[in-house]
């Protein structure tokens, strides 16, 4: 029983982190139509930046508070410098340029932080465990991490459902040309969406850093799984990304324990199953 509870918590924690990364990817893909292979690199840079920011500011949550606006500004700059030139180009050119960005970001990472895994300290006040059952303790930091992810997810969903900015995002997801024809400058909207995606991915990287360290290639793994989430949830759907992330998180956590030989293919089997049943994803438009 404790094992199942433990795997549920591990699955939810992984899934919630994945949601932060994948929600940005699905917005960028759904609204801008950009296949952004460099999205995982924002997660990677977030994880490494967590090291530097925590060292300077003394706390991972201060690092998060500083890292989100920094990543937003960085994302906006990348959009202005590179991505905006891709909107009217085909997917091959998008893939080529964003792959080039991965190489550049990896070089930056190696130059600044080196080629070794680096661990980021948990805040001392969250480094203990709490007892969930008689024989099961769970790290407090992981619970805090889940709580922050849930708050960010709720804020994101509230903004999208209930605010003018959210209406703009939903409208642009279905018909960006009409949004422009109604008087909204899509250049600004696209820049904000891309920068938000970068900030969300970096936030996930910062929060994950004390749990899984920062290491070269961390962004590539997140990128691939995030694309699986986007496919499962439906392109452009935040709700879909949320459900898809949790499904993958739980499938991964339980797969590793109960079918370890097949755990690496389990999430792809899940994706294939969703594609067979709902080709446009759980919440994608038909």
């Amino acid at each position: 029983m404790s094992l199942i509870l433990l795997q549920i918590l591990n699955g939810l924690q992984y899934g919630l982190l994945l949601f932060l990364a994948a929600s940005g990817l699905t917005l960028v893909f759904g609204i801008l139509g950009i296949i952004n292979l460099a999205h995982g690199a924002f997660y990677m840079l977030g994880a490494y930046a967590a090291l530097t920011l925590t060292a300077r500011l003394g706390d991972i949550f201060l690092a998060l508070a500083a890292g989100i606006p920094l990543a937003f500004a960085f994302g906006a700059a990348i959009e202005w410098l590179f991505i905006r030139h891709l909107y009217k180009r085909d997917h091959l050119q998008q893939v080529l340029l964003t792959f080039a960005l991965i190489l550049v970001f990896n070089e930056i990472q190696q130059t600044v932080w080196g080629n070794y895994p680096l661990s980021i300290p948990m805040p001392s006040y969250l480094s203990s465990s709490i007892s969930l059952t008689a024989d099961l303790g769970y790290p407090v930091y992981r619970l805090a991490l889940m709580a922050i992810c849930i708050v960010l997810a709720l804020v994101m969903m509230f903004v999208i459902q209930n605010t003018r900015a959210g209406r703009l995002i939903r409208a642009a997801e279905s018909n960006p040309e009409m949004v422009e024809a109604l008087g909204f400058d899509s250049r600004i909207l696209f820049r904000i969406v891309f920068a938000t995606g970068a900030a969300l991915a970096a936030a996930a990287g910062i929060l994950a850093a004390p749990v899984e360290s920062a290491y070269p290639g961390i962004g590539d793994r997140v990128l691939i799984i995030s694309f699986v989430v986007v496919v499962i949830g439906g392109i452009g759907s935040i709700r879909g990304a949320f459900l898809g992330s949790l499904l993958i998180g739980l499938a991964d956590a339980f797969g590793k324990v109960f079918v370890p030989k097949f755990s690496s293919v389990l999430i792809y089997a899940l994706m294939a199953l969703v594609l067979v049943l709902r080709p446009s994803g759980l919440f994608g438009r038909q």
Binding site: S174, E177, E180, A181, L182, F184
Partner: protein
């Protein structure tokens, strides 16, 4: 006449295809103008070019005296042009009310003639369905919503592409009646449609495009006087 929109010598291409060939087109303040022609003659391209959605290769477009050629569609919309595209362009994942509120803005001249409640008074069907999603509406309701959404920006000029295409006769009558009401409020209208009689009833001036060129421009009386020519050009 005091011109609101004036285009001269417009040329536009889709790839190698020369779609607009030196088109001159004008709309006066508060004027109603129909744009006629068979399919593929350049009507939609002309509206999209005026709106800034399709680039023009050469020519001149002035709105209220300002040179707007090359402006972004959002800037043209803010300068006072409302656009109802072919296929309607409803946001399916926004409710009726959200679709309307989305576009709410005071006009370029500071007017706020059209409000959400005003649109609901104009289209009571939309008021009944205010919480429905855009994709839950019938074709007629979608067209009402697109027109209402364009009006929410309080435009000086409303451009409606294929105003009643695919709609039931009763709904079509509703749309024409509403366009007349809008025109009576002083909004200039350019409308593309295939129903010649309805266009003659609504519009004071008519323009026929053939292969991207203006082959006729004149009043309703002049259009009626050249009935055989008009019908042959329109394939009626």
């Amino acid at each position: 006449m005091n011109e609101l929109l004036e285009a001269r010598g417009l040329n536009a291409y889709y790839g190698a295809s020369h779609v607009l060939r030196g088109v001159d087109f004008r709309v006066g303040r508060g004027e109603t103008v129909s744009l006629l022609g068979r399919n593929g003659m350049g009507k939609t391209t002309l509206l999209r070019t005026l709106m800034g959605l399709t680039p023009s290769k050469s020519g001149d477009i002035r709105l209220g005296g300002a040179d707007i050629r090359g402006w972004r569609p959002s800037a043209i919309a803010r300068a006072g042009v409302g656009f109802v595209p072919e296929g309607r362009g409803i946001f399916p994942n926004l409710t009726v009310e959200e679709n309307l509120v989305f576009a709410a803005r005071e006009g370029a001249d500071g007017r706020r003639d059209w409000t959400r409640e005003g649109i609901f008074a104009l289209f009571p069907r939309l008021a009944e369905r205010r919480t429905n999603w855009g994709n839950q509406l019938s074709g007629g309701e979608q067209q009402m919503l697109t027109i209402g959404r364009a009006l929410m920006s309080n435009p000086a000029l409303l451009m409606v592409d294929e105003a009643t295409e695919g709609l039931a006769p009763l709904v079509r009558d509703d749309i024409w009646r509403t366009l007349k009401l809008i025109a009576d409020k002083g909004v200039a209208i350019v409308v593309v449609d295939k129903n010649l009689d309805d266009l003659k009833a609504l519009c004071r001036r008519h323009v026929i495009l053939v292969k991207g060129e203006v082959v006729f421009e004149g009043s309703t009386e002049e259009l009626a006087a050249r009935d055989d020519f008009v019908r042959s050009q329109l394939g009626l």
